[in-house]
């Protein structure tokens, strides 16, 4: 029975299409109370008075808590430490569950009201009186480091969290740029976007006094990591006293990786009131408190020789981390960004400098792609612009600069100038296939004629690489991660031969209940119906590091394969005993062990039963058929691809229409093509959304003025074309499935392709515009054409 490589329809769909999904807010516990947060309307202020009496007196209110009630709890920590270039420890101000002195961004939590119903909690929250001494605020990272800028934290001078550099000596890079035939320079902003998982975050704390035990139901991408942080770093509760449950989660895109203050607060509150308590974010709160993504201000230079070969790259980025450090925040602009600046190119000299900055804004952390989209945007904007400036074909310039193919087995991995060693890659085919799908020559001919009808046609490229399958623990530990990034899996064969698989990966739309089961059923040669996947419950699953960084199949799937290998190894011993043969004489296929060259065989189910009813059993062998494994990857995985956007710009209005989008991605081996295609589609929409529609707008007082769906433009169905996608397959050489991960590719490659297409259209129309700030609204494009 072969399941790998087939577009099996999703097992989990039935509950979702019938309205039977179980998201956190769907859960009701006996005696459950409801929480509503009192949040700051100001970006920066000293809180001079909080009066909760009227709220406490309101009928139906159970309790009201403020920061001073939570003694001895510093707040939620970050999971990554990046030190200053001079070796000093990064600035790590506490992120309290409820503020104690100042509010530092709009939405900072001041008090929590607990009541019998959600409505009463909300009513009573309006009765909490807070007096503020409003302070100046700063939201732009480059403004924040200037002398005299408002100080977000007293112990972080100039609002700098850390500075960091990577790559070749800056003098060497400068010298190469100085002697280059052509240097393309670009100052640009990678706009801040809001992840907008459709399910708002929700958390239910439930303290059971009789067992002195806590359960936290929460919409998270990584239950065990939340437990570790909650127990060991926030509340000081022993881990065996805490269960984290994360059933169905309505999208994450990074924003549900992080351990949020509300999660710890609900656990703490439940113990105080000895009743369960639920908090569910509304969308306005989500805009204010779900960690945002991107927000880099960058200056970069790319030097070329006379043939168009890149000779050097230099980048200087100010990365906005917001007011508080979220769980992965320090890693995103550094080890997930600077390390990707080799791209697919043989650039011999690279230097990147990053200044990480606090501002009076919500936290910024990993959002689909996390650092890698920022790196790709930087590289792909520069190489496309360089091609335009030099009058060269952007496809040809890429061909010229591609790293030659290597499979990581017969040829070694590719050592970059920025610390990584790529696993395997063959980059030309994705470009050639995408060009073929576009009909490149025909398009250029059509483009030359287009401006006569009031429309400018443009084509934009992006040939990207990402580092996924996060990550080898020892490597990330050396880079400042405070946790390992392995994964665990348990494969429990039941006596009847049915199989329960427990994974530390977490599905919040990725379809693990299908893909992972395909892998197990395929390897064991049994029907998919005989396999069940369990995830999202720390009591059921031994341990896990969760799902992000396109790691589930590459790391979590590999852990499952390790456990299956152990099952088959032990099963073979039992089979050999029953068949009165040697293990070496057996082969396993189609769900049974057969003595080679004979028709003597024993089925998987019979071996399973024997393992649990060991009457006639190999001497010295333990009963049971149940194995756990931990898999720590040998390297990151490196998916890559080529994305091409074709746009039409209205000369009169500046309106951009995305006419076609072609994506050819290489994510290694593919278990379920239908699901992988779906991952690419979704990523494309998010990346295109950043380019054309999305972006936060902060006013001078630090107010997010587009913090709702009335104001923040989400990509809609009629903003997007049907996507034209294909793939090549370059297996990962270092994991057993040969997979590289597909979750982020669409979002990483697409953004610069769209912007490059608009810039190309404008150049063809005679407007030699270097950059338009994302999102490329009609207004901005019109201004670029008319200024």
């Amino acid at each position: 029975m072969s399941f790998i490589g087939k577009s099996i329809k999703r097992v989990e769909d039935k509950r979702f299409i019938t309205g039977k999904g179980k998201y956190t807010d769907d859960i009701k516990l006996v005696g459950m109370t409801h929480a509503h947060m009192v949040r700051s309307p100001y970006a920066h202020a000293r809180v001079t008075k909080i009066d909760t009496q009227a709220a406490k007196d309101h009928e139906g209110v159970v309790a009201v808590f403020v920061g001073s009630d939570i003694e001895g709890i510093a707040g939620v920590p970050t999971g990554w430490q990046v030190n200053f270039k001079n070796g000093d420890t990064m600035k790590e101000p506490p992120h309290p569950l409820l503020i104690r002195d100042n509010v530092r961004h709009v939405g900072d939590a001041i008090a929590v009201v607990i009541a019998e119903t959600k409505e009463i909690a909300r009513d009573a929250a309006d009765l909490v009186e807070v007096e503020y001494d409003v302070l100046d605020a700063v939201s732009d990272p480059k403004e924040a480091v200037k002398e005299g800028a408002p100080q977000v934290h007293p112990d972080a001078p100039n609002n700098i969290c850390f500075d960091w550099a990577l790559g070749n000596p800056v003098e060497d890079v400068d010298a190469a740029l100085a002697s280059a035939h052509h240097v393309t320079s670009l100052d640009f902003v990678n706009n801040r976007v809001v992840p907008n998982a459709m399910e708002p975050r929700s958390a239910i704390g439930h303290y059971d006094e009789t067992r002195d035990h806590y359960t936290l139901y929460t919409s998270t991408q990584n239950p065990h990591l939340i437990r570790l942080l909650l127990c060991a770093f926030v509340l000081g509760i022993p881990e065996h006293k805490v269960r984290i449950v994360s059933h169905d989660v309505g999208g994450g895109f990074g924003s549900k990786i992080f351990h949020y203050t509300e999660e710890a607060l609900m656990v703490w509150v439940s113990k105080q009131i000895k009743r369960p308590v639920k908090w569910t974010s509304d969308r306005s709160e989500a805009f204010m408190t779900d960690a945002h993504g991107r927000d880099h201000v960058t200056s970069a230079q790319m030097g070329f020789d006379e043939n168009g070969k890149i000779v050097a790259l230099k980048a200087d980025t100010y990365a906005n981390l917001g007011a508080y450090l979220a769980t992965f925040a320090p890693a995103v602009p550094t080890y997930l960004h600077g390390t990707l600046l080799q791209g697919l190119y043989t650039t011999p000299l690279i230097n990147v400098n990053v200044t990480a900055v606090f501002t009076n804004t919500n936290s910024v952390d990993a959002y689909r792609g996390a650092g890698r989209p920022e790196a790709t945007y930087l590289l792909e904007r520069l190489i496309d612009l360089g091609s335009l400036e030099m009058g060269m074909d952007p496809a040809e310039v890429r061909r010229l600069n591609f790293i030659p193919a290597f499979d990581g087995v017969n040829q070694p991995g590719y050592q970059t100038q920025v610390a990584l060693q790529y696993d395997s890659g063959d980059y030309k085919p994705v470009l050639e296939r995408a060009l073929q799908m576009v009909g490149y020559e025909d398009f250029r001919a059509e483009q030359a004629k287009s401006s006569s009808n009031g429309k400018l046609l443009g084509i934009g490229f992006s040939t990207y690489i990402e580092a996924c399958g996060i990550a080898p623990s020892a490597v990330v530990g050396a880079l400042g991660a405070r946790a390992g990034l392995f994964e665990s899996a348990q494969v429990r064969v039941q006596p009847t031969g049915k199989v329960s698989v427990y994974t530390g990966s977490h599905s919040h739309g990725q379809g693990h209940e299908t893909t992972f089961v395909q892998v197990v059923a395929d390897k064991l040669g049994i029907p998919m119906e005989d396999v069940d996947l369990v995830h999202g419950d720390s009591d059921a699953v031994a341990f896990g590091m969760g799902t992000y960084g396109s790691r589930s199949l590459a790391v979590g799937g590999s852990a499952i394969v390790k456990s299956i290998d152990k099952i088959l190894e032990k099963g073979a011993k039992i089979a050999a005993h029953k068949l009165e043969a040697s293990v070496d004489d057996l082969e396993y296929a189609e769900g049974k062990w057969t003595v080679k060259g004979t028709d003597k065989s024993i089925a998987f189910g019979d071996v399973s039963l024997t393992a649990y009813v060991p009457h006639d059993y190999p001497e010295g062998l333990e009963p049971g058929l149940d194995f756990s494994s931990f898999y720590d990857p040998a390297n990151f995985t490196y998916p890559f691809g080529c994305h091409i956007a074709i746009v039409e710009v209205d000369k009169e209005t500046g309106k951009v229409k995305l006419k076609r989008f072609i994506a050819v991605d290489d994510v290694g081996n593919v278990i379920n093509p239908m699901i992988v295609d779906g991952q690419i589609h979704g990523g494309l929409a998010q990346g295109i959304g950043q380019a054309l529609h999305e972006g936060t707008i902060y006013d001078e007082s630090g107010q997010l003025i587009n913090g709702s769906y009335m104001d923040y433009t989400m990509p809609r169905a009629d903003d997007l074309p049907s996507f034209e996608i294909d793939r090549t397959v370059t297996p990962c050489p270092h994991n057993p499935l040969g997979v590289k991960g597909a979750g982020e590719a669409g979002c990483i490659g697409s953004t610069p392709a769209v912007v490059n297409a608009v810039i190309d259209a404008l150049w063809k129309g005679g407007h030699q515009v270097k950059d338009i700030r994302m999102p490329l609204t009609s207004e901005r494009v019109w201004e670029a054409m008319n200024n």
């Binding site: 999904g21 998201y23 589609h681 997007l720």
Partner: protein, 160 residues
Amino acid sequence: MMSNRITTTINGQSVTKEVEGRTTLSTFLREDMNLTGTHIGCDTSGCGACTVLLDGKAVKSCTILAAQVDGSEVKTIEGLAQNGQLHPLQAAFKEKHGLQCGFCTPGMIMLAVDFLESNPSPSEDEIRHALEGNFCRCTGYHNIVESIKHAAENMSGVPA
């Protein structure tokens, strides 16, 4: 808080309940009726996750007060399958991978039920336009459009 007694038919069952004047239909369905398949994804009637059928027409149930549905018929995602048979749209969403996390799915399907009633053989542009008021963050809409196309094909010739 003023309350209202309402009698309404939900998924074919008649229900009489006291509701606060301010209670939205979405909250009523989720909290009073335990029909949690109707999801709340925003607070500005922007996302469409809460779409249900009110007297056969797709509405955003966060924009309707429960008190307003007195005497009306409400159908939610839980009431769509009949006699254990999935509605063609439910089947099409599975067949064409029109969902990932599933949170927007009930709203998408309920919207599409109404849409295909009024336009049984829509073009792709018409489908995309019809979906304007419903957000999906997972699928890029690609396979939602394919699902609705597929359902339209399967439903053509079959009386609604």
